[in-house]
Symmetry: C2
Subunit: 327 residues, 2 copies
C-alpha cells in the first residue's frame, strides 16, 4: 500500500513517519511505499522494509498537488500548514498555504477521481482553533466553529471542503481536530502556547522554564503519541460509521496549569516544580483565555479514538518517548 505524508517535516509528521516505519501496518494493509513531502526537506530515516521517497515541495505551488496525486497514494496524511502566528501576520501567505494549498490537493484528487475513480483516504490535521471564545466547558461536538484567528478560519474552511468532497464520493476524508500537543519535544519555540510544554519539558531535564499565565488557565492537551494514534486510526478505521460529519474533535486531557504542575510534582518532585518561574505576560494571558478549555469528544471516543486520560500519563509518554524512560 502506498501512503503520502504532506507536512512530513513538522513535529507530528516526523513522529508519524517514525511510527509508520516501526510498524508499517495500517489496519489490514501493509505500507510498501511512503512518500514524505514538505517545504523543508524531510529527514530520510533509515529503512530497508519499504520504499521511502523524500521530496521538497510546496503545496501552495499550483502544479505540485497534481504531481503528488499522479502517484495515486491510497492514504494521504495532510498535515501541512503555516502556524497560527504566521497566518495572522501574513494574510496572503496564510490563505495561500492553508486554504488554497489544501483546496489544490483536494481538487487534484477530484480530477484524478473524475478520470478513473481514484478515491483515497484523506486524513486532515485540523485544530481546536476552529472554535473561538466565548466557549462552554466542556465543548460539545455540535458546537459551532467561530474562529478568532485567520489560521482557525482556514482550518474551518478546509473542514467544510473535506466534508463536501467526501459527501460527493471524491475521497474518503476524516478531519482530526488536534488538541494542543503536549509535551512537544525539542527546543522551546516562539508559539504563544509553547509554555504548556515548556513548564514540563524543561524541569524534567533540570532546566528553568517560564510560566507567563495564571495557573488557573484551563486548556486541552494530548501527547505526540496520541496525535500519531489519531492519525493511524483515522487512516485505517471503517469510515462507514462516521456519517457525513467528517470532522471530529479528538479526545484529550483538560487541565488547568495548576493541575499540570501537580502532575509534574507527583512524577518529578518539588525540585522540578521549583524550576518554573512565574513571569506574568498580559498579552499571552489574554490570548489563552480565548482558547478551548476542553471538549466532550463523544463522537471521536465512540469511533475508537483514544488519548491519555490524565496529565501524569502525558508526562509519562514524554519520558518514555523522548527521555528513554529516564526522568
Amino acid at each position: 500500500m502506498h501512503s503520502l505524508i504532506i507536512g512530513a517535516a513538522g513535529m507530528v509528521g516526523r513522529k508519524l513517519t517514525q511510527d509508520l516505519l516501526k510498524n508499517p501496518q495500517l489496519g489490514s494493509a501493509q505500507i510498501t511505499t511512503l512518500d514524505l513531502v514538505d517545504v523543508i526537506p524531510p529527514d530520510r530515516p533509515d529503512t530497508s522494509q519499504i520504499t521511502l521517497r523524500c521530496q521538497k515541495a510546496d503545496l501552495s505551488d499550483p502544479t505540485i498537488a497534481a504531481t503528488l496525486i499522479a502517484q495515486r497514494p491510497e492514504v494521504i496524511f495532510h498535515l501541512a500548514a503555516i502556524v497560527s502566528g504566521e497566518a495572522e501576520a501574513d494574510f496572503d501567505k496564510g490563505y495561500r498555504v492553508n486554504l488554497d494549498g489544501t483546496r489544490a490537493l483536494f481538487d487534484a484528487i477530484r480530477h484524478e477521481h473524475d478520470r478513473n475513480g481514484y478515491t483515497p483516504r484523506v486524513v486532515f490535521a485540523s485544530s481546536i482553533a476552529v472554535v473561538g471564545a466565548p466557549l462552554p466547558y466542556p465543548i460539545p461536538d455540535e458546537f459551532h466553529t467561530t474562529p478568532l484567528t485567520s489560521y482557525g478560519t482556514q482550518k474551518a474552511i478546509c473542514e467544510l471542503l473535506l466534508a463536501d468532497y467526501t459527501r460527493r464520493g471524491i475521497f474518503d476524508g476524516v478531519g482530526i481536530r488536534l488538541p494542543t500537543v503536549c509535551i512537544r519535544p525539542g527546543k522551546p519555540n516562539k508559539a504563544a502556547s509553547g509554555f504548556f510544554s515548556g513548564i514540563l519539558r524543561e524541569p524534567l531535564v533540570g532546566q528553568e522554564a517560564v510560566l507567563p499565565v495564571p495557573d488557573t488557565i484551563r486548556h486541552w492537551h494530548a501527547s505526540p503519541r496520541s496525535a500519531v494514534g489519531f492519525m493511524r486510526h483515522a487512516a485505517s478505521m471503517d469510515t462507514g460509521a462516521i456519517g457525513p460529519r467528517r470532522n471530529l474533535s479528538m479526545p484529550g486531557v483538560s487541565a488547568t496549569v495548576a493541575e499540570q504542575i501537580e502532575a509534574l510534582r507527583r512524577i518529578a518532585g518539588d525540585a522540578a516544580v521549583q524550576l518554573i518561574r512565574r513571569e506574568p505576560d498580559a498579552a499571552i494571558t489574554a490570548m489563552c483565555k480565548g482558547w478551548a478549555p476542553g471538549f466532550e469528544a463523544k463522537r471521536a471516543l465512540s469511533l475508537g479514538f483514544r488519548a491519555e486520560t490524565n496529565f501524569e500519563h502525558i508526562i509519562q509518554a514524554h519520558i518514555e518517548d523522548e527521555l528513554e524512560g529516564v526522568k
Copy 2:
C-alpha cells in the same frame, strides 16, 4: 450615500431595490447613488430621486469585483449566488460563483482597504442550508454548520471569510441566514422547496397547487418583506453590539405544512384549501426531512431583527404586497 446590490435581479434583490427606492434611507444616511449588478441585466425601475446605475456583470469573472469596488460603495448587499440544485449539479460552477466570486469581492475590498482605509458595510445573504440533518428543534445559535449540499458548504465558507475579514477590520460584515422565503411571488419554479409557497400562492388566486410531502413536515419561513427588512437592518444597525460572531440565524415562523394550510383556511376559506392536491413525492419528501425545522434566533432577535410571528401574517404580507390587498 452610495450603495451596491450584487444579485439585484433575483427575487430578494428586486424586492430590496423597490424598497430602497421607495424609502432611500438607511439608518441616518440618505442613499444618493444605487448600483444594481447581476448576471441577468437588472430591471431599471423609474426613479428621479437617486442616481441609479444598472450593470450586467458576473462576479465570478476575476476582473469584475475590482471595478465594482473602485466606485467605493459604502453599503454592499451581496445577494448573488447560483441556487442549491445548480450548485449540486455543476461542481465547478457552484464553487466558482458562490465561493470564488464572494472571495473575489472580499479581496477587492481588502485591496482597496489596504490602499486607503476603505471599510464598507457588507451584508451577505447566507442560508439555513449551512446546517444539515440531524437537527434539533429549535436549532440554537451555537449549533454547528454541517451542510449536506455544496451550496450550503459554499455559504458556510463565505460566512467564515466574512467573519475573518471583519475581525481584521477590512470591512464591517453581517451575514444573514435567510429562512425559506415564503410566499415567493411569481410563477411556480422548479426548486424542491417551491411547494411551500405554491400551496398558498396558487389557491389565493383560485388555482390548483400540488403538495408533494406529508403535512407533518416542519420548516422555517419568513416573508419577502421580512427578508428585505433583515437586509435593511443589517445595513444600518450598530454592528458594535454583534461581536465577532457575524453570521446570524434570522427569526422566522416555524410551521408544519398542516399549520400553513390551516392559516390559509382561516384567511381564504375551505374553497382555497380544496385547491391543494396531495401528490406524494418520495424524493422531495426525503429531501425535506433534512431541512431546518426552525431556529431559536435569540441573537438576531436581541439585535433587533424582526420577522412575522405566525403564518397568517406571512399570508397577509403576500396579499398586501402582491395582490394589492385583495385575496
